[in-house]
Amino acid sequence: MMGFWAVFAELRRHPSAMVGLVIIFLLLVMSIYAVIRIPYSEAVRLWRAGEVVWLENPRNAAPKWYNWFGAGLPETIKIETAAAERTEERVGESTKRVTYRLAFDFPYKRFPQELALFFTSTYTTVPPQLVLSWRTPDGREIPLGTRTVRGVERYVLSGDSTLLRRLGRAPEESLFSDPKNPEQALSGRYELVMDVYTFEPGASLSAKFIVYGRVYGWAGTDHLRRDLSIGLLWGAPIAVAFGFTAAVGIALIQFILSGIGAWFGGALDILIDRLTELRMILPLLPILILVGMLWSRSIWVILATLLMYGSIGGYKTYRAMFLQAREAPYIEAAKAYGAGNFRIVFRYLLPRLIPVLIPSFVLAIPDYVFLEASLAVLGIGDPILPTWGKIINDAYSMGAHFKGLYYWLLEPAALLMITGLGFAMIGFTLDRIFNPRLRSL
């Protein structure tokens, strides 16, 4: 039997196995980083809490690195009244006018995605009013109308139909368009001027102006404005944990049962034959779908079903080896000193063949990672946790491939692919190391 270092030395002779090891190491680092940096409850909140959390993100935004390739997509700009230039003037007995100049640089040629204002006002009886106007870099001034703000409000300029009618074009385009070339944005310093009228001594109004860009973070956002990087990061620990648990669990169950079967033989053999055939006929994916549909979509229920399915059959893989090992002299010796059946199976027979188990279980890990993704693509993913498969499912069902939002599909796909390849590269090499028949080939 080979020791760990001997196996490692052997692995180092195969470049593809080294690549695989590096990939798995990086995957583990990513998983640990994800779990430490964004705790479980926080990840679920960021992924499931609803629009409130994501409201300030652009919708379907590309990742930031798109701009490295000259995409020239605008980033999101946020300006708050607290940080803006402020002039105050008393215009009546208790009426006050505060003028905020929300100025920002817009160095892009592409239009932003959306414009929105978030207000918070305090008053007792008469709500504050405001007059909005827009100043372009070339000095034009465009009035945007007046509003009354009651409490906490969101005003989406891009969704205002009166504004749209008045400007004759979507506000995020018409306000930014270059008069010489209307299909392009004019870059330079813009100003949103807010004249806030308060009618009571204690009344106040604060606002945040958001110019939604077309890029966000290193991974982009989805149709719900969710930051994809959270889903992609958290997909790693889930994929690794699920794949590993399923593969180890099923391999161990089959290994132990086939060891017991080979040791006792007899009527058990016939049963094992039938069970192996039964498992070939039981359609795994449809059954998982059935369980997911009728019972629970939780990833743990799916895992338990998988383990149960795995324990039905698949004993034939290890059978021949056990039958051979059964006849070994040291087993004979154990029998001679009067070791019981279970002692022989668990102390002598099983440990002896563990090396055979390792390659097959390493090779099985990516299969289960992809199985989870398959279920997610069918819409039976875990209802709470973000997984790579679920991101693919979201992207696919929202038509990312029709709309050209390639990053949305390709990012989780690339992570799945790299993970699968990492485990497979090591598995194939281990197979060649441990399987003497393949060793010379």
């Binding site: 070939m280 009728l294 485990f423 497979a424 080939l441």
Partner: protein
């Protein structure tokens, strides 16, 4: 020869019988799983209610009654019908009844879905989709099988060459499932290059001439078949080449070489022949996993087969169709196993002549 055929037949019938038994057990298990939440009962109950409603509504004598009187009659009738259908019997008796319905694919009516011809019989919906699935996966399976055997043999001939080592190191590429490559191919050929359709079975509206129809179907089959091919070719090349290498290092091959037989004859008679049974077994395993993977692949390609049906049934939460799909997949797997068993028997002289040696 006749003796051989007879033996083959008896072997085949014993295997079929055993398999049939296994199929029954498998379907029973599926039904138990489906009924854990009482879903089979629910399917049956809703069917009974619909029948009762229809007979009561269709009865002119009852139409004058007030709604509350009608309600009372309905409730009573439903109660009687339920008892007649045996819903008050213990679960064991009921489950056996469901088993018979399952084996005969008699799942009653779908809750929401209909077949293209407008029927809502689950059996008809399933059978309508079956040919599409068989067409796609049959084509893909055969393509992968013949291409792999051909090239694996060629690789084993060039053992240790650059192309051989390359194909061995590409084997991990078979880890992702078919649908995964499907999505990538759709992105490349449909979204980006706009050369091939995103999915579906034929163009809409379907072409009127037969030739154009066939061509359109073929055009829609290119991407799914290609993704099956990419997803499977590397691992089957790798493992089948290894089989060939193992068998070509046998002593009788050396002997044949020493006799001076042509390499073609050696390959056909001494290498290919004994290697075929393990290859057929590994092909069987591949096909079984393909049937399953077909569910996601057909979904991704919007291919109107059984897999897509199952996906649609999930979207509609149409339980009778979901249970029916499970059972029909069980049947498909059993038929695959039986077919390959038969092929195995025909290929392996030990099985074919096994009876002769004993007598």
């Amino acid at each position: 020869m006749l003796e051989n055929l007879k033996r083959l037949f008896s072997y085949f019938s014993v295997r079929s019988f055993l398999l049939l038994f296994t199929v029954v057990v498998a379907i029973y298990l599926i039904i138990i799983i489906a009924n854990m939440g009482g879903y089979m009962d629910k399917i049956k109950e809703s069917e009974i209610m619909e029948q009762v409603y229809n007979t009561v509504r269709g009865n002119p004598a009852l139409q004058r009654l007030s709604p509350s009187e009608l309600r009372a009659i309905l409730d009573k009738q439903i109660e009687i019908a339920k008892r007649q259908a045996g819903l008050d019997k213990p679960f064991i008796t009921r489950s056996l009844e469901y088993l018979i319905r399952g084996i005969t694919l008699n799942f009653g009516r779908a809750e929401q879905m209909t077949s293209d011809s407008g029927s809502n019989q689950v059996r008809l919906i399933l059978l309508e989709r079956l040919p599409h699935t068989l067409l796609l996966w049959g084509t893909a399976d055969l393509l992968v099988f013949f291409v792999s055997v051909f090239f694996a043999l060629a690789l084993s001939r060039r053992y240790g060459s650059f192309i051989d080592r390359l194909s061995v190191s590409l084997a991990p590429l078979s880890t992702p499932p078919v649908w995964f490559y499907g999505i990538l191919l759709i992105l490349l050929f449909a979204s980006f290059l706009r050369l091939l359709p995103y999915g579906g079975f034929v163009d809409a509206p379907p072409p009127s001439t037969t030739l154009a129809y066939v061509l359109s179907v073929i055009k829609h089959m290119i991407l799914p078949v290609l993704s099956v091919f990419i997803a499977l070719i590397f691992s089957s090349l790798y493992s089948w080449r290894t089989f060939f290498l193992i068998y070509s290092s046998e002593d009788y091959v050396e002997m044949a070489k020493a006799k001076g037989l042509s390499s073609r004859a050696i390959e056909r008679r001494y290498i290919l022949r004994p290697t075929l049974p393990p290859i057929v077994t590994s092909f069987a395993m591949m096909m079984i996993s393909l049937w399953m993977g077909g569910i996601v692949t057909e979904t991704v390609f919007a291919w109107p087969g059984l897999g897509r049906l199952l996906y649609d049934a999930i979207q509609h939460v149409d339980t009778p169709v979901i249970v029916g799909s499970n059972v029909i997949y069980g049947y498909l797997l059993a038929i695959t196993v039986l077919l390959l068993d038969f092929l195995y028997a025909a290929l392996d002289p030990r099985v074919r002549l096994g009876g002769a040696r004993r007598s």
